[in-house]
Structures are given as structure tokens and as C-alpha cells.
Amino acid sequence: MSTPAHKTRSRSRVGPLTEGTASSLDVDALLDDPHTGIIVCCGSGGVGKTTTSAALALRAAEHGRRVVVLTIDPARRLAQSMGIEALDNTPRPVVGVATEGGGSLDAMMLDMKRTFDEVVESQAAPEKARQILENPFYIALSSSFAGTQEYMAMEKLGQIHAAAQREGTYDLIVVDTPPSRSALDFLDAPERLSSFLDGRFIRLLLAPARGPARMMSAGFGIITNALTKILGAQVLRDMQTFVAAFDTLFGGFRQRAQKTFELLQADGTAFLVVAAPEPDALREAAYFVERLSEDRMPLAGLIVNRASPQPEGVLSADEAMAAAARLRKHEPDSLTAGLLRLHADQSRMVEREARLRERFAAAHPEVPTAVVPALAGDVHDLDGLRRIGDLLAGG
């Protein structure tokens, strides 16, 4: 989902920022560096962001860091193995982590509505909070509003970070983000909230609640008439109640969003963009990379997941196909012909993926990259995460 900021600010593409070719991403150096306090994984859907976040967190913990991983929507079995099936918005210790190095790992799954409710409760007096929580507009907004999830992930990050600073609970927070471009919407949150608050429409909605305003202009009449006609008077009333009740909260939200933004820009934060070697996923990755550098967010590197394994031998795809055809002429279901065709298919996949990665690297040579080969099966236990961790670290 795009935001007003995407629309109004025309974006130009960002090309190479340095000379030379992309270096490889040293994952262990990043995890072991005590200055790394926050790692944010972003990328489009289906590229293995959640698994990557969990694998990074586990590896860091087993390297002696005290880690919490905040995930959005893990696969059921992975969630089970980490002990976070329950959505209770509180980090829980993960059982089975090797803690000889003095590290630890907690995990939690984000409950977006719960987080939103908590913010309202902490910001408003009980009576007012109750009013907001019961308003039909709030209920719809807090559970289904596009962008809420992204914003709440950052809200939770801010909370956990503040608590960790206060109580010394964690020294590394790994954050998984929702699977969409709007994962970067939190970057716009402060700007968005200000424009929302200062918007004429909000002032208009608030006008009756704030007493007789001088808005009874021609424009006002047209607007309220149109809205009543489209929405009906009752909806408009609910909306006004909601906005009036929420008005006092927005100031607080704006401040918090600004703080989170600064936290993300700080030195201790590292963004990792996760992608698969597919044109769409890499195009999204380019978007993330460009957007992050535009907002001067500390980008640590790109992780390309699910890369096809390099076939052995030097036989090219074309040669293999030609040989397979020759064999099939004499023996239609020749095993060797089948093997050669598989080899050709595999070589073509690898070639295509390598070309896509090269194109990305040519446009963004400043982004260190780690390539993780595809595993045959899905990952749903700590051992699987350890394997991914090894692969991420180049092992």
C-alpha cells in the first residue's frame, strides 16, 4: 500500500553510490559487534524474512549476545519450536539455545491490536481510553487499517528498546517486518501523523466538537452535505467522536514516532534487506535499498535466500540438452537423458539467478551481499535455524 508521502514526493532511482563491485556481507562480524543493537530485516513476501530473522537471532545468542527476536507471522511449526504460538505480546525465552557463551534468546510474536490498545491505554485517562477502545472506527482501524501493523511493529521495537536500556535485559533486538513495501511506512509515520493532524479535513471533523468554529463557509456546507449523502449521518457522527477522542493522543504518537525514527537512524541499528533471486523480489529489494539510503538509514547489506545450488561439472545447459536429445532418439525413457535434462534445467536456473544478482550489484555495488542456497525442506526447528545461520555466515 502506498502512502501519501510516496505519492507527493516524486522518487528518482538511486544508482551506484560507490565505485567497484559488491563485497560479501560478513554476517558474523555484524552479529558479534557489540555496537549492533538493532537488526531490522525487510523485504517482500515469501523471501524467507521470518526464518532469516530467527536464524540471525539464534546465531547471535549462541555467540554470546542477549537477544530478543520480534516476529510478525512465523510458520506454525517454527513458532512452536520457538515456543511462541501464543500471541501474548510478551517476549518468552526460547528453549534449547546453547547458552555456554553467556547469551540468551527470547522471542515474541507481534499482536498488532494489543500493541495499539496498550498505547491508547498508556496515553489516555481510563475513561477516555475506554471511549476510544469501544468506538467502531477505532476497532476497524486497529485491526485492519493498512499500515497499522508496520507502525505497531516499530512501536513495539521502541518499547522493547526502552525497556532493554532501562533494565539491561537485551543487547540485541532483531525485528522481522511485515511483508510489503509498506514495511517502510513507519519511516513516514511522523510526517504522516503531522499532515493528518494539521489536515483541513480533521479540523473540519473536529469543528463541532470544539464549539462553533468559523468554518461555516461555502466549502464546509458542500463537504458535510456530500459526506452525509455518501456515508449517512450516523457514520459521520461516529467518525467525529473517534477523531475528537483520538485528537489528544496524536501529539503523543507523533513524538514517539519521531523517537523511533531517530532510533532507527542511529549507529547501533543495521537494516538487512532480504530477497529471493527472482526479478520481482530483487526489484522490491532495490526499492528498499534506495529508500533506506534516501532516509539515511544504516543499511548493512542484502541477503539473497533460496539460491539454486550450483550444479557440478562444466557441461553447459545447451550441451546437456543436445546430448539428452541424442540419447532419447534411441531410448525414449533413458535415465541418463533425464539426468542431463535435470542438469540443464539446474544450470539455466543458476545462470538466470546469477545474472539477476549481477544486475542488482551493478546498480548497487555499495551493498554487501550474502547468498544462501535453498535447502531441500522447510525449516521448523532450532537445528534448521542453525543450518541457515551457518549458511548466512558463509559456511
Binding site: 523471501v47 493498512a146 489536515g199 529471493a276 541424442r326 535415465l335 541418463t336 533425464g338 539455466r348 538466470r352
Partner: protein, 361 residues
């Protein structure tokens, strides 16, 4: 067609031409969804739902048929797939359909739906709010409605899809489509997306927007709609597909078929797969075959091929497990191959041919 030409404002620079009838012949048979006018295509990220939506649109556009392919996520994926200029908020011819036995193919049109334009069009169409619509825009109402107000975005997007399926007298000169294919939001959000009119109808207990929302829900819940789910044969996407079907059924939305995409090539038969897994492939036969085909066994080629076969067999076994789970969903399923070269325009027609062969269109 000529009667509708006025609505296709500004002829597109390019209409992609598909294969001519003589090159590609797929027999027109009764397909599985004869009553469906609205095909909603969803799927987990990375499963290729946009590709499947495009291929389905091509497959449905047989002789004399007009098919509309809609996208709602602001990605311009259709323009990219068909290699044409970015699409505006306006129906455009983008390609000829997949030819059938009865002569020239139909036409696929495309529409990129964005909520702002949909809102302004809606206001103009239903409320004759030309001036007031612009005033709403000036006052930030359009921005509020499309980005901040809960659910309104989805109401507008689904509302426009509804309008394209159920053309009425307010939009006289518009093309009446034989089918509309919607490249919809991902599986995790689909029930909520389609059900949003219902949610809104709950929020607005009366008034004109409620009756509009109710009408839209009636179409979405009717047998004229089918929600197809795209998956790949991996654990998470299959699980999500099963969950998605559950959510759709709970919301009273009609579940269509499951399209299994990116299926691995099947160059080895069951017996060879078993031997590959057991590590008992006959290396000497392979070696002599290679020699016969004129391939040098340098650098451990035989070992490499055997290792690749084992890896492939492992993945095929995992695919089969997931395929069985897809079978248990008891909905029609279709399978599309993974194309090593990626998806281009030719590939879309290839996939369309597959879908038609298997009876999806």
C-alpha cells in the same frame, strides 16, 4: 468491438499479439467454471499469483471473448509482464487471448485500479459530485478516505471491480466483459479484503454506502465469483492455502481452484527417483550412455549428475507430500511448471495453454 471503442480512451500504443491459431491449437472444451464471471486470484507472496492471473486471463479470452485483468496493489505488474507502458486508471487492450479451435482469439484488457481515482469516479458516477468531488479532494477528504480511514481503500478497490463485472446503465458506453480476472492481495489478507464491504456495512448501519456495500457482497458471495488460490509445493504456502480456504469458507466466499505453480520438471520416473534417493543409480550405464551421446566424463560429471539426481529426488519427495495435502483440500487443482528461463510474454501463453488443457478456462 467498434461500439465499445469510445470507452477505450486513446488506443494503446501496443497490443501484444499472441500466437496465431495455426501455431497453437488447444481444443475448446467445457471448462470447470462456466458460470463464473469474476475470477479472484490470490496466493502467498512469491508463489506467482500475478503470473497465474495473467495466464488465466489469456486462457479465458478465447474466440470473441472480452476479458478484463485488474490489479489493485499499485505495482504495475501487468504492464511489466506484458511489456507495455505503465497502465493508467483506464481500461486498455493489452493482448490478444489464447486462440482456440474456432478462429481468432478474444481480447484481454487491463485496468490498474487505484483508490483515489476509484473514489472520484464513484462520486461522479453515483452522486454526480463533480464539483463537490473536487472540493472533497481539496479538503483532504480523498487522501483521508484512501489512506487513513479504515477499510475504505479496500471498499473502493473492490467497488470498482464490482462495477467492471456488473456494468450498469450509469456506465453505458463501457465494455461488457465476459470475465474479469482480479490479481488480488495475498492469501493472508484475501478474506478480509473481499469481506471489507461486509465490515463496512456493519460500520455504516444504514445509508446509501450500506446498500452499495451489500450489493457488492452479494456478487462476491454468489456462484458468479470464484476465489482461486495459487501455491507452490512447499510446506508454508500449502498450509497458508489451507488456512485461506478455511477463512474464505467461514466468510461465505466461494472457493475456486488451487493452482500449484512452479512445479519441478519430471524427467525421472518413480523407479529412478527411488534409486537416486538410495544412491543406487547405475553409474556404469550412465557413463556408457554419456560416451554414446558424445559427452566427455571430465571433472566428475557422473558424480555430479548422481548428486543432482539425489537432491532432485529429495525435493520431489517433499513435493509429493505437499501434493497429497493439496489433494486433501478437495477443490479442483491445476499444475503449472516452473520455467527455468523465467516468465516472459511467451511463457504467459504457454502457461495459459496449460490452464486451458487442464480445464481451468
Amino acid at each position: 468491438m467498434t461500439g465499445h471503442a469510445a470507452r477505450i480512451q486513446g488506443l494503446p500504443r501496443v497490443t501484444r499479439q499472441g500466437p496465431a491459431n495455426t501455431l497453437h491449437y488447444v481444443s475448446e472444451q467445457k471448462h470447470d467454471w462456466p458460470r463464473v464471471r469474476l475470477h479472484v486470484v490470490t496466493g502467498k507472496g512469491g508463489t506467482g499469483k500475478s503470473t497465474v492471473a495473467a495466464a488465466l486471463a489469456l486462457a479465458l479470452a478465447s474466440h470473441g471473448k472480452n476479458v478484463l485483468l485488474c490489479e489493485v496493489e499499485g505495482r504495475q505488474g501487468i504492464a511489466r509482464m506484458f511489456d507495455v507502458d505503465p497502465l493508467p486508471y483506464e481500461e486498455r487492450r493489452i493482448a490478444t487471448g489464447l486462440p482456440g479451435p474456432e478462429g481468432s482469439p478474444g481480447v484481454v484488457h487491463a485496468l490498474h485500479i487505484d483508490p483515489e481515482s476509484a473514489l472520484l469516479e464513484y462520486l461522479a458516477m453515483y452522486y454526480k459530485l463533480g464539483r463537490a468531488g473536487r472540493a472533497l479532494d481539496r479538503f483532504g477528504v480523498v487522501e483521508f478516505a484512501t489512506t487513513i480511514a479504515p477499510g475504505v481503500r479496500d471498499v473502493l478497490l473492490t467497488g470498482k471491480v464490482f462495477e467492471a463485472v456488473q456494468r450498469n446503465s450509469r456506465n453505458k458506453s463501457a465494455i461488457r466483459y465476459d470475465a474479469v480476472v482480479l490479481d488480488a492481495p495475498p492469501t493472508g489478507r484475501i478474506a478480509q479484503f473481499l469481506n471489507v464491504n461486509n465490515e463496512l456495512a456493519g460500520l455504516a448501519r444504514m445509508g446509501p454506502i450500506k446498500s452499495q456495500a451489500d450489493t457488492v457482497m452479494t456478487l462476491f458471495r454468489s456462484p458468479r465469483t470464484a476465489v482461486h488460490l495459487v501455491t507452490v509445493l512447499e510446506e508454508m504456502p500449502v498450509q497458508e492455502t489451507a488456512d485461506g480456504i478455511g477463512e474464505l469458507r467461514e466468510a461465505g466466499l466461494p472457493v475456486g481452484g488451487v493452482v500449484v505453480n512452479l512445479v519441478r520438471p519430471r524427467d525421472l520416473d518413480a523407479g529412478d527417483l527411488t534409486s537416486a534417493l538410495a544412491g543406487s543409480l547405475d553409474r556404469s550405464t550412465i557413463r556408457s550412455d554419456l560416451k554414446e551421446a558424445g559427452v566427455e566424463d571430465g571433472n566428475g560429471l557422473v558424480d555430479g549428475l548422481v548428486a543432482e539426481a539425489r537432491d532432485h529426488a529429495e525435493r520431489r519427495a517433499l513435493e509429493d507430500e505437499q501434493r497429497a495435502l493439496v489433494g486433501d483440500l478437495s477443490v479442483p487443482t491445476y499444475e503449472l511448471p516452473r520455467l527455468a528461463g523465467g516468465v516472459d510474454l511467451g511463457a504467459l501463453y504457454e502457461l495459459a495453454t496449460e490452464l486451458r488443457k487442464q480445464g481451468m478456462a
